[in-house]
Amino acid sequence: MSVLIENVRIIDPADDYDEVGALCLQGAEILARGQVPDGFEPRRRIDGTGLWVFPGLIDLSARMREPGEEHKATIASETLAAARGGITSVVIPPDTDPPIDSPAEIELIARRARQACGVRVYTLGALTQRLEGQQLAEMAALQQAGARGVSNAHKPLSSLLVLRRALEYATTFGLTTVLPAQDLSLTGSGCMHEGAVSTRLGLSGIPEAAETAALGAILALVEQTGARVHVARLSTRRGAEMIAKARAEGLPISADVAAHQLFLTEVDVAEFDPNGHVIPPLRAQRDRDGLREAVARGDISAICSDHQPHEADAKLGPFASTEPGISALETLLPLTLRLVEDGLLSLGDALARVTSGPAEILGFEQGRLGAGARADFVLYDPAALQEVRQLDWLSSGRNSPFFGWTFSGQVRETWVAGRPAWTQPTKGNTE
């Protein structure tokens, strides 16, 4: 179908484009950006006056709990939540049950995604068989089945030697290895940032060194092997500084941060609020500020949701025995744009961290709006106000610390491959 969105502000951070004009779609692709080509006869016209259009968000880490934990959420429920949040592509880490260590799981997830609302669902393959950290997974087969990279999620590798071999093997196929920087022996039984608040609450702390020691080992092996590595979910100022230095030295390394790390700190754990229980933990104010600076500089080139939906029971208990994670698909875009209001970075740069930035990290075609690009985009009303409410929350996981927060701006429509995947219900017209 051909569609014309007229008189809309088009923000395409991939090439610093920001103009009011027309966006023309032909089928699943963008036909033209800015001017309407001669002879274009759209079947549908949308008046974009006062609205923005920008590329659909690419979320580098969203757990959808399928297969294996469908009591928490499903691909159907979570892709709809993603679409509502302006996210058109999500990447599922390999720690499903069973883990994504063979083409079968990738095919299952692809099948479920085809039956869902249209949001593109990608996977990371396992780095080691069953994520056990011993024998390498069949990465070539995983890649052929569609895996966009390889990762061992939060599961430990038995030694640095295994990590070295895994990096070398992944490099053979040009696969990016996605690694959280977390030394599990230093993490121990820790459940929050080690500092004044953990001392006060008597909770086991996770020291900063759990991140920086692991990051030191990763950087040494990247230097040794030349492997392309993406560091997932930084949480410390020091870690962000190490990444900045490594990038300045030309190492093939990138990093992302979860959106909540840019807003919350260890203080949000008090008094034992299980919605503040995340891994890596919410850290000190200076860490939060350091991460923000790294996002502004571009040393952290992607912001992700790190979406982890839970059933209510998973968060009902004494803090340490609750399951970590935040249901975050529906707050990724509002939080990212809040950074613009906070004066941290420009609108284009903020959108780059959730579109072209993550696209570059895992080599996605989408994440831009130029002619010939995939027609994955968000039609956004910057004048609307929205309150984050349980009432109209779409994710099956209600575990968000952001309920009650109010944001300016709202997703009006989310389109994937030239078709609407989500339309914000107007008053008196609920879907």
């Binding site: 020291p207 034992f272 009902l316 208990g317 004494p318």
Partner: protein
Amino acid sequence: MSDTVVTPALAGATRLPEPGPLPNRLQLTDDGQLRHLLTIEGLNRDLLIEILDTAESFANMNEKAVKKVPLLRGKTIVNLFFEASTRTRTTFELAAKRLSADVLNINISTSSAVKGESLLDTLRNLEAMNVDMFVVRHEESGTAHFIARHAAPGISVLNAGDGRHAHPTQALLDMFTIRRHKGDFTKLKVAIVGDILHSRVARSQIHALNILQTGEVRVVAPCSLLPADVDQLGVHVYNDLDAGLKDVDVIIMLRLQRERMEHAHLPSEHEYYQLFGLTSRRLQLAHPTCLVMHPGPANRGVEIESAVADGPHSVILQQVTYGISVRQAVMSMVMGAHQS
């Protein structure tokens, strides 16, 4: 004995940061009465002194032939212990009985709780029996908060120890003991010695001592048994016992758990005793009328010499006696807050 003169803290002593509103939103009623006792942190000085004064009247009563009063007649109190305890549970039980309450003791080993019903299910089942108060001990920090947050309105929760977080009645009975022997807190130097890292008792004591405007609060321990940023709790940190004991008026020794060796916090009990054990010789460094306290059970020859534990400075057994009065005070106050 009275402690009403407000004097500023000694110069240089770090004071507590302003307590946030949350702990009190949960444990105090709107008019500032104690509804639950979950933590000492955030309570004000007047309330602490009210508890100690109330305990004083119970202590006088407990020295008489008839010790029982009908204050909580018809009330049902459940001692819900998920972790082993002798002293704390029995003194809570005795305190409840002296207030004429009916007491139910439930000891749940965590392993069977894991297999069977969840903590919340256990709570709901007991609530269905129309109980009035839970006295809770659990190995996880924050459990008393969790239970207080989810308990039916009208039920009081007393924290009898949660993980490393808090043990408020222990701290209160320690303050009671210090006040009985020493009076004015503002002139005192108090040293807490031992495994601060794992100690809920130490955390509650530090809060209580600071709220009562104690002249100087010290913690003495090897670095591997100190929690991160411990000075922010409002204490002076010492790694050398001799220096830490110099001129102190009160020494509180903490129990050293044997499993600390397994997790590489310490090399051996032997070396710990050499460096951090309280001996008769070291006691002489303290003020001549220094009190020696221990929340029990003491490991003789590990953190404290027998001659000191049983010596003239020791008030370890009085702490146990006072524990009953303090728990009576807290129980009567929280039930009073619910009735008003």
